[in-house]
Symmetry: C2
Amino acid sequence: MDRVNNILDEMLKEEIPAMLLLQEENIFYMSGFKPSGFSILVLKDEPLLLVSKMDSEEANETSRIPLQEFNSFKDLKNMLNELKLSKLGIEESMKIGFYNKIKNNYNMEVTDLIERSRMIKTSHEINSIKKSISIAEKSFNKLEFKKNEWELAAELEYLMRMNGSQKEAFETIVASGSRSSLPHALPTSNKLEYPLLIDWGAVWDNYSSDCTRTIIETEKQEEVLNICLEAQKEAIKSIKPGISACEIDNIARSVIKDYGYGDNFIHSTGHGVGLQVHEKPSISSREEITLEKNMVITIEPGIYLEGEWGVRIEDIVLIKNKAGKLSKLPPVIND
Amino acid sequence: MDRVNNILDEMLKEEIPAMLLLQEENIFYMSGFKPSGFSILVLKDEPLLLVSKMDSEEANETSRIPLQEFNSFKDLKNMLNELKLSKLGIEESMKIGFYNKIKNNYNMEVTDLIERSRMIKTSHEINSIKKSISIAEKSFNKLEFKKNEWELAAELEYLMRMNGSQKEAFETIVASGSRSSLPHALPTSNKLEYPLLIDWGAVWDNYSSDCTRTIIETEKQEEVLNICLEAQKEAIKSIKPGISACEIDNIARSVIKDYGYGDNFIHSTGHGVGLQVHEKPSISSREEITLEKNMVITIEPGIYLEGEWGVRIEDIVLIKNKAGKLSKLPPVIND
């Protein structure tokens, strides 16, 4: 219950006497139980996990926090009323429909305390992410590049599953030829052309990985990919505890701008990875969070020429005194 | 733009002059564009789709609604202010963090108008669901039942992909032996045992399918599965336009109760299927929605003996004057 006690300490400091957690990753993080249906964790001195009847057998086996069956919103409101809270912490992801159902004379305040705590990974979490990366890489290395986009995605996902991934971390992107100018293009039945951009990830022990490689063909494509590689390298070199996320975004962006492709880098430089494939901190121009030891983030500069093609490179790095790539896959893949 | 005009008419009737849509399925339903990142549809007399820079090329190709790039919450608030709205309709799924960012002196009111409209499927939507079901069934029919849970799920998902599914509709459930007592058990490395419960679905043109079969071994398992089959049959027989969802839940539940397993049917009887695998209406004891022609729902009674095993049968039905199964797979599968 170390994690629970640590979070309760944090809550005390921020004057939040109790919190409601609904997001499944936050519930898993605190309790060890991953809900399949509706579930609420009431985080307070004696924390309580409310689960649906359907989930109660599974929760009984896995939750570190005592359980009770969730019956009705009325019961929940009564329970919260009885606590006579000065304030109730809620997640920013709470749905307004849910908020309206439970609002009452306690004061609800959005806090990202759990999401901030999740940014700093334990060694157990780092090992799970490493395992997730190694599954994704091992699977990629067995791919045959002879099919259409759809079949390539199917094969990659199958290989990840067979290598122990719980599922794909997100919808696999296989974007070939002109579709590579769409940063999030989903696979089609198009025959493979170049550039061939693949963005994929595995899940191990509920922890995601996330990687992108672009296989190129022409000299022009090589030139543009090299700019992304330089931007990635410069960004990673500059990462250290104490620097802000937006500074790192700016460093990657400046390299690309200097080559005249500033308007073609149409997304942020990276994001945290963990129980969610996209989590805090965002490595973007507006994110002022300070980077710290044991954060795990992606660095993924890309250049997209609208209507023509695009390239991107993405790796996961772990921040210690400096940042080091956790991925072992070479940056340039020869088909 | 028929759909947009129809919804604008509905909004007029419900005195909602404008709505903000953020949920990707609602945006796709109205615009034909499926966002990969953050996107907002402002639904009003001259509707406007706000998209991230990253999505703008794709949105340009697919959206029936004029586009603008999303810049900042401040711009959005200004735009909403200038509309001088008496009321702004919002989805119940809007996050409280987002709500707080845009709240202002306009009155925001939660409405499920889009979700209610989505309950009634067009013939195009029904055809997509049928295609999604046929992909799932064709793939299932090619399965070999010789592996562990994990490998069976991997194979089924691969077959669905190769048969044209965009992805799996949800995390495939393969629950074997004692794990079948957990309604939402995810696959493990356990060797296949019986009962073997498989719950899976494909996605075609963004429309999901959802089906469950349980392969049984002992006479006792057969007896309990037959109770589920009877409950499903009775429920489907009773469906007609005008009956309420809770009545159908009650009919399925009563059959199971009569055999003494009432406490072992620990979830609702079904749910709507469409752009989301779980959407309105819920076929549950608390859902008073009246069933109507062209709704597409699942009927999925199950019996779970805690610590022992469980069985479930699930099919999708289309409601016309009566309800008919869209699935063609036989209810009992012989391994």
